[in-house]
């Protein structure tokens, strides 16, 4: 589960060439197709035409850059960042790991955003009407930048499962949503992290849209007691991988790069 070990050689960047060359083609065999009738909302929201493949230009190989001065000190602490007259209720957890590329290299200084339901499975959102109560001290979102090695961490409470209208009696496994930038707009990715041992994982239609079992397993964060704080907070480890970049052994004809 989510135990990423890379044996791949790092992409080689020849001196004097662009350190941000083209990205690997996306491997769609390990990604959900757009049209997945078991997840009913996808039926009318999935394009019917094939995606048009384009060669990368500078428009795809670059992306927005964010700075530490844009984030607040508590942005990575969901227990405290919306605390009003107390702390958020629920099991205290740390989530940590690396954002890597397919070459196994850590992606430094990349924005990681996350959001989730509270311990009762209720979102602080005007469209969520589930009967579980809002926690007055829990907002449910945060963000951080990876360090120079691609490492990130944040503190939160473990979210609860909640019902949703797909089939009658459909329940989402406890999960945290992640949004990742990498360093190219073509790496942009949103995903969800699940918790080791949750029996709802194998019956979730949204997870079942992923055609590859190994790809599903990589979304399941294992308990990481070594990173836990004794008598205080448990930890879960979640590494994520964005598309790799090709080596620049020989200059190609990609202009403007």
């Amino acid at each position: 589960m989510n135990d990423l070990v890379s044996h791949a050689p790092p992409a080689f960047v020849k001196e004097g060439t662009n350190p941000y060359p083209e990205l690997f083609r996306r491997d769609y065999a390990a990604q959900s197709p757009a049209y997945t009738p078991i997840y009913k909302t996808s039926v009318l929201r999935s394009p019917r035409n094939a995606l048009l493949s384009i060669d990368h230009t500078v428009s795809e190989t670059t992306g927005p850059v964010f700075g530490h001065n844009e984030l607040g000190l508590l942005d990575n602490d969901l227990i405290m960042n919306y605390a009003k007259d107390g702390e958020a209720i629920g099991p205290r957890i740390i989530v940590h790991g690396y954002v890597l590329d397919e070459n196994g290299r850590g992606l430094p200084n990349t924005l990681v955003e996350f959001w989730q339901a509270n311990a009762g499975g209720r979102y602080r959102h005007k469209n969520d009407t589930y009967l579980a109560p809002i926690d007055p001290n829990f907002g449910g979102c945060g963000r951080t930048l990876t360090d120079e090695n691609g490492y990130y961490y944040f503190r939160t409470i473990r979210p609860g499962a909640y019902p949703w209208r797909n089939y009658v009696n459909s329940w989402r496994p406890a999960h945290i949503h992640f949004s990742l930038f990498g360093n190219a707009f073509a790496q942009r990715l949103i995903t969800q992290m699940y918790f080791e041992g949750d029996p709802l994982i194998k019956v979730c239609p949204i997870i079942k849209t992923i055609p590859d079992e190994e790809a599903v397993n990589r979304l399941i964060a294992p308990l990481d007691l070594n990173a836990s704080v004794p008598d205080d907070t448990m930890a879960y480890r979640f590494d994520m991988v964005l598309r790799g970049r090709r080596s620049t052994l020989f200059e190609n004809r990609l202009e403007g790069n």
Partner: protein, 207 residues
């Protein structure tokens, strides 16, 4: 034996509550001091200020009112604010990141970006790309973010020569990427509707 690489993490839908994490004001609360939003321009950004405005439709022709859209673009000189842009012409504008995010309104379904019109950008093999904005759309029911490009109707000549637009065989489909200008309250507004599925389905790219 095969060469071992890590595999890209599987995408999962942004879900109906994407606003909590990426646009908390739209979810109905205030948490961050600094919020990322749909305004790409600062007081000193160079270039002609424009508004991008549109709606997102599903396969039944209904409005998608819970979508989130991000825009990534070059500045008025055609330069991206990123170290990977090594074009020789023009210069980076320190007051323009070139990125923003907008949500379709829960009632009207309309999204808006406030930005500047980008300049033409170098393409591959010495070709030039017409001014364009890269767009990425996520929502409940979209398993993996959809990539498309907005082009400008008043750049007819540049669009005619654009290598990406030329790669779209059917003219009718090419037209789904062209935003039409109009004047509203003294501002130039480009209308760009995105159709997820159906007769006028927007061209989406495997980038």
């Amino acid at each position: 034996m095969s060469v071992k690489y890590l595999k890209e993490t599987a995408s999962q839908t942004a879900g109906p509550y994407v606003h909590i994490g990426l646009a908390p004001h739209q979810a109905g609360f205030d948490i961050f001091q600094n919020n990322f939003d749909n305004n790409l321009v600062g007081a000193t950004t160079r270039g002609a200020q424009i508004v991008i405005e549109g709606r997102v439709f599903d396969g039944s022709g209904s409005l998608v009112r819970d979508a989130l859209i991000e825009a990534w673009q070059a500045n008025a000189d055609g330069r991206y604010n990123h170290p990977g842009d090594r074009q020789k012409t023009g210069s980076v504008d320190p007051n323009f990141r070139g990125w923003g995010r907008a949500c379709t309104d829960f009632e009207t379904g309309i999204y808006r970006f406030y930005t500047v019109k980008p300049g033409p950008v170098a393409g591959r093999s010495g070709k030039v790309q017409a001014p364009h904005i890269s767009m990425w759309i996520v929502a409940r029911g979209i398993n993996m973010g959809l990539n498309t490009r907005l082009y400008f109707a008043d750049e007819e000549k540049a669009n005619e020569a654009d290598p990406i637009l030329r790669g779209i065989e059917l003219k009718k489909r090419r037209d789904t990427l062209i935003a039409q200008p109009s004047q509203k309250d003294g501002k130039t507004v480009y209308t760009f509707d995105i159709v997820l599925q159906g007769d006028n389905e927007t061209v989406f790219f495997d980038v």
